[in-house]
């Protein structure tokens, strides 16, 4: 039993944390989200060139560092602590994971681009897209709602029902000039990311990268859910620290409001929620490479615990900040919105509770 990071993992964490503290400004990032291009491409390039985090979890033979779930956790938590909006989970965890397991040459080429910071890949999945073979190609139709990062993407992975499983298709992409038959409705999300609704009307694509990627997609979603849990832990640690600090400073009735027992107990409850979320992330991360059932059960446990914690910690951080917590002026409001969104990403709290119940049922 060992919960310590290796020396290299500590270096990864400290290097990234230092970089973000020095170079990732919350106000600049929000202004890029609201009135700019939706992200800071120069930060993304620095993630690749200066920090090497985009390939940190990829195998060494395709330009990666060969890191595993622990590296993923360390990176995601640091990104969450700084409220990074750049598309790490979508591009590196979801698309990266699918491409590594696709194992084709095209997949490897794209992984190298991801590691180099020159490709952003979004996954369009959901029940709405079908594909049929047509001559030497395939024709896709249907729609996908709220495809995260699509407006920023250079490539799309599209999961489509082929009638014989879920095919995984790959295409180059530019939201401003999408392929024929593909309509893109882009927008900002409540947590200042970019996403889009896609409508496919006979979009012609080459043969799928993977003929039936059902199992790979399940795994990718679990890995993404685990990454989002780690990201949420980073956000919750920041929100808790800010709240405690605020309650020490803020004076009412001639004393710091942090001296009132009712508020102390609330903050202690927040602290315990965060500690349980940290433990839940370990549970998910340390089982990410286990059998699919064990993996799914652990990830669902983590997502349910983290979802509940994100709600409690986020809501109470706002409450204890009073009106200031409701504004865009302090960090707390921005973190609250992200902590709201994480409860619904890659399966809501209720979805994961119900999946856990199914998997853990006696005799299942």
């Amino acid at each position: 039993m060992d919960f310590n990071l290796t020396g290299e993992q500590e270096l990864l964490r400290d290097g990234l944390t230092k970089f973000l503290a020095a170079r990732y400004d919350l106000a600049e990032s929000r202004s890029a989200a609201k009135t700019g291009p939706g992200w800071q491409p120069e930060i993304w390039r620095a993630f690749a060139d200066e920090l090497g985090i985009l390939g940190a979890t990829f195998p060494e033979d395709i330009g990666g560092i060969g890191g595993g779930p622990i590296e993923l956790m360390v990176i995601a938590e640091a990104l969450g602590h700084a409220l990074v909006i750049e598309p790490y989970v979508g591009t590196v965890v979801v698309a990266g994971g699918l491409l590594v397991r696709a194992g084709t040459e095209a997949a490897h080429a794209l992984l190298e681009q991801i590691a180099a910071g020159t490709a952003v890949v979004a996954l369009a999945d959901g029940p709405g897209i079908t594909a049929r073979a047509d001559g030497d190609g395939w024709v896709l139709s249907g729609s996908a709602a709220v495809v995260t990062d699509a407006p920023l993407a250079t490539h799309l992975l599209i999961a489509a029902d082929t009638g014989r499983g879920t095919g995984l298709f790959l295409t180059e992409f530019d939201a401003a000039a999408p392929p024929a038959g593909l309509t893109v409705h882009g927008y900002r999300t409540i947590d200042d990311r970019r996403a889009a609704d896609l409508e496919l009307d006979d979009v012609r694509l080459a043969a799928p990268l993977v003929g039936d990627a059902t199992a790979e997609l399940d795994r990718a979603r679990d890995e993404a859910a685990a990454a989002v849990c780690a990201e949420a832990v980073g956000g919750m640690r920041k929100v808790l620290a800010d709240t405690v600090e605020y309650c020490k400073q803020r004076q009412q009735f001639g004393q710091p409001i942090g001296s009132f027992q009712a508020l102390q107990h609330r903050m202690v409850d927040m602290y315990m929620e965060v500690e349980q979320a940290v433990a839940a992330v370990y549970l998910a991360i340390l089982n990410l490479e286990a059998d699919p059932d064990v993996r799914a059960r652990s990830v669902s446990a983590a997502k349910a615990v983290v979802g509940r914690a994100a709600r409690f910690v986020g809501q109470n951080a706002v409450q204890l900040h009073g009106g200031m917590g409701m504004t865009e002026e302090l960090a707390i409001g921005h973190y609250f919105k992200r902590l709201t969104a994480v409860q619904y990403e890659f399966g809501s709290t209720d979805y994961h509770l119900s999946r856990y119940a199914t998997i853990s049922r006696p005799g299942a």
């Binding site: 709220v146 409705h185 927008y187 409540i190 004076q251 706002v318 409450q319 619904y344 119900s354």
Partner: protein, 410 residues
């Protein structure tokens, strides 16, 4: 004991329903249905107030001589309830429900003659200047200086969380005229025009993106002493009267019941987290049932409080309890609406809603594209804004302190 309305009450209800059916246009209903907070879109709210005023129903709780209605208490409740059930936009509470009652009690004849008719027509639109950056829950510690100079007071300082400061042409404010040992002494209640030189309004951008609240800065603002309400240095008495007046008068359960019904209807069309319809998902169905039960219980609590007031009694700490219960219930419902919205609840699309103020830093899509249904666009904004319910008008922590003392004698 009887939960049923009398025949007269039912006839009155039908009269109100007929009025609402004819007067509440689709546009006004839309403004009510697409509200992102307790504040309706300003223009729609004022238009609705004008229609109500025409019928003599803009301020039913006022005494008849000032333009109120000669209604029984059940009739007042029925009127509020029917308006909420019909989805009418809300009216600003600052003038009609709040400062007007203090003006009636403490105002000079000139003040009554000027302000009361103006409030009814909407020509006088008030905002509230109570909280300051350093005085929130501890309101009596407020510091905004008001220095006497001949016939005037000169105001310097700032007020915060001022709702509709941009739209308002008048403010009622608490200012510090004298510093004394007891912080409640030396406060003055004053009415001031928002166009007075030296006032600057800085809108605050909330997490929903809306600019409904503002911080208002005062730099040597000259206000005639004739605008003081009550006596100088005795503003706390006026403020306390206002607070007490609000007691027992609130009707919140019907609006919450409408919210619950709308969530149920939406959930019948939405996919659940594990396949099937959301309304058939046991976890969701139980949460919605629990919230609906709480709205039914809240309604009885509100009825009971009303009957105590009707018999001339004081509801006591019940007002604190009702504030906590109704705001926490509202938060539970906005949380459920966001859950029901599913993935679409993450999309930021205020252009499909009718917010209570301008939206900062947002360009609506050129083709007005909407991801999902309008209620899904409302859900996240309403959820964010509703976090204010447990903070404003005396935070729920302060209300619990009051209950501990007044209800339990602790």
């Amino acid at each position: 004991m009887d939960l049923n309305w009398s025949a007269e009450d039912l006839a009155f209800r039908d009269e109100v329903r007929t009025f609402l059916d004819t007067k509440l246009t689709d546009d006004l209903r839309g403004a009510g249905r697409l509200m992102t907070s307790v504040y309706a879109e300003h223009e729609a709210s004022m238009a609705w107030q004008a229609i109500l005023h025409e019928r003599g129903w803009a301020a039913p709780a006022w005494p008849v001589e000032h333009g109120g209605c000669d209604w029984t208490l059940p009739q007042h409740y029925i009127f509020s309830r029917e308006c909420q059930l019909a989805g009418a936009p809300s009216l600003s509470p600052m003038g009609i429900r709040m400062v007007s009652h203090a003006i009636m009690k403490f105002g000079t004849k000139e003040q009554k003659d000027f302000f009361l008719p103006g409030i009814l027509t909407g020509e006088v639109f008030f905002c509230q200047g109570y909280s300051e950056p350093e005085s929130g829950s501890d309101l009596a510690s407020l510091q905004m200086a008001a220095v006497e100079d001949g016939d005037d007071l000169i105001l310097t300082g700032s007020k915060i969380w001022t709702t509709h400061a941009i739209e308002a042409n008048w403010m009622f404010a608490l200012v510090r005229t004298t510093r004394s040992e007891r912080k409640q002494l030396g406060i003055t209640f004053i009415l001031l025009e928002m166009t007075t030189p030296g006032i600057e309004v800085h809108p605050l951008v909330m997490t929903s993106g809306e600019e409904v609240q503002a911080q208002v800065f005062f730099d040597g603002v000259r206000v005639p002493k004739a605008n003081i309400l009550g006596k100088i240095d005795d503003g706390w008495t006026v403020a306390k009267y206002l607070l007490e007046f609000e007691r027992g008068g609130s009707v919140t359960a019907p609006a919450l019941q409408v919210m619950a019904e709308e969530i149920g209807a939406a959930a019948a069309q939405q996919p659940g987290p594990s396949g099937g319809r959301l309304i058939d998902d046991p976890a969701f169905a139980r949460k919605l049932a629990d919230a609906r039960i709480r709205t039914e219980v809240l309604e009885i609590l509100e009825f009971r409080t009303l009957t105590i007031v009707a018999q001339g009694g004081n509801p006591g700490p019940a007002s604190s309890m009702l504030k906590i219960i109704s705001t926490e219930l509202s938060q539970a419902l906005t949380e459920l609406a966001l859950e029901a919205a599913g993935a679409r609840g993450r999309v930021y699309q205020p252009h499909a809603t009718r917010p209570g103020g301008p939206i900062a830093e947002f360009e609506p899509p050129a083709d007005d594209y909407l991801s999902g249904e309008p209620w899904q666009a409302v859900a996240p904004l309403r959820y964010f804004n509703d976090r204010a319910g447990s903070i404003y008008a005396g935070s729920n922590e302060i209300q619990r302190n009051i209950l501990a003392k007044a209800a339990l004698g602790l």
